[in-house]
Amino acid sequence: MSALESSIVLPPGFEPATDGREGEAYYLNMGPQHPSTHGVLRLVVRLDGETVLGVVPHPGYVHRGIEKMGENMSVLQYLHHTDRLDYLSSLGNSLSICLIVERALGLGVPERADYIRVILCELQRIASHMLWWGVFGMDLGAITTFFYGFRDHELITQLFEEVCGARLTLNYFRPGGVAQDVPADFLAKVQVILEQTRRSLDEYDRLLTKNVIIQERTHGIGVLPAATARSYGCSGAVLRASGVDYDVRKHDSYSIYDRFAFDVPLGRNGDCFDRYEVRMREMAQSVRILEQAVAQFPAAGPWRSKELPQYKLPAGSWFRWVEAARGAFGTFIVSDGSLKPVRIKNRSPGFSNLSVLDEIARGAKLADLVTILSSLDIVVPDIDR
């Protein structure tokens, strides 16, 4: 190594390269304020011309220390902070904590509450995937999809506002049920959304899935082999697009998901198009679950089991994961028997899914990096916590 080479300071995260391209390679900073990084994520890319040789993501720009905050408050108070992790699937986040508290304290959940939970969770999955669909199109240069995605997302958000009292930070699930009963016209509104969703999915397919530009830009781009996906702990559509059949709702069932018939969509190649298609088919499966849930919905009944004055977890440690919109979201709580937990850890799907970016983006073009990042569907506050 010459004196000049040894004096060069590489960007953090990069090792001195031995691939013989040192002379040609250069480093490019992308983000943290970049529209395609979906928030404040910073990527440092090593490039040769337009070819990506390596990517180092630098998360942490929206780190709020939510897990540490959880050590200074009761579980019930922490519940609403989880809405601020993955804000597009906030119900899944709080559901994992509710399931933990219910198991730790032996609380039962009324049947009606179970159905409300499943309906809202699946609606949120559809809403999250719709928004992702719009953003994915926009990242590839089709701004119309962004408006269409948001238009359909808005319908579901309005229902959330009527049921939960907020549009994103819902804070609706409670240990032992839900905070309030649903309004009287809830099921009718869900039916309207289902009707609209079926129409929209058809429109999405015609507009984007069958579009030549989208196909050419996603076929064979960012191929993630099943073994790599498994070893990095990927989950959700990223894992299933690689052909690994794992869905927490199906294979580690929780709540009342075992009562519904639904398929787990799988991909073959693990490329961007498969990840796209798996999410589109997941929306159709969510519609299927919702149809069954609406048909079985109990007409009346309690929505929350008896409220406790304090939710003190007994000493011990608990873990529960759920299938959030982006993959397996888990919460690990260690308690010493007092009101405040000793330690809370959230296992976020976005962090594991982002970790494979370097592996699958190598050899791709810089423009494909945007496609790959978008197909991973990350939400940065979920990664930084």
Binding site: E161, G165, R206, L207, K210, V212, R268, G270, I360, R362
Partner: protein, 155 residues
């Protein structure tokens, strides 16, 4: 990467041109439909439509304290809302009335710290707090984020 070579067929140039034209026409057809059906367009003209905005009844805005016709509130300064708040948003400043009973002096609400979770309203056993539908909260005056919710001391 190579062991999972994707099995997509490569298009010939003629096929490519046909497919490209087809998807171009389909895309233009979908977007053009909305041009011809302006009633299906969902855009709303905020802030021009401010007067017609309707909020869901459960919408959680800033906390308020309802007062009855006589100007009385129901707060007893028990402090449960203060304890329930995850962010330390509410400060109950209690005082004593002429009969030496603990009553509410001021309920100071630090709006800047509030995350609108609604736990204080759920915790209140006397139904003394409500979430309002106020939503345009931006201000350049720091004093706007420190509110005293009660109009007068408790009795």
């Amino acid at each position: 990467m190579s062991q999972h070579a994707p099995a997509y067929p490569r298009r010939s140039l003629a096929r490519y041109l046909i497919d490209a034209t087809k998807s171009l026409v389909t895309g233009l057809g979908i977007t053009g439909r909305y041009l011809a059906h302006p009633k299906e367009v969902v855009t709303r003209e905020y802030p021009d439509n401010r007067t017609q905005l309707r909020f869901a009844e459960r919408f959680r805005g800033p906390v308020t304290m309802p007062h009855d016709e006589a100007g009385e509130h129901r707060c007893t300064a028990c402090g449960l809302c203060e304890k329930a708040c995850p962010n330390g948003t509410i400060s109950i400043l209690a005082t004593r009335n002429l009969a030496d009973k603990r009553v509410l002096g001021q309920l100071v609400y630090h709006l800047g710290q509030c995350s609108f979770c609604g736990l204080c309203v759920e915790a209140c056993p006397f139904d003394a707090l409500r979430m309002s539908h106020e939503f345009e909260l931006a201000s350049d005056q720091k004093a706007d984020f420190e509110r005293v919710l009660n109009h007068k001391e408790g009795r």
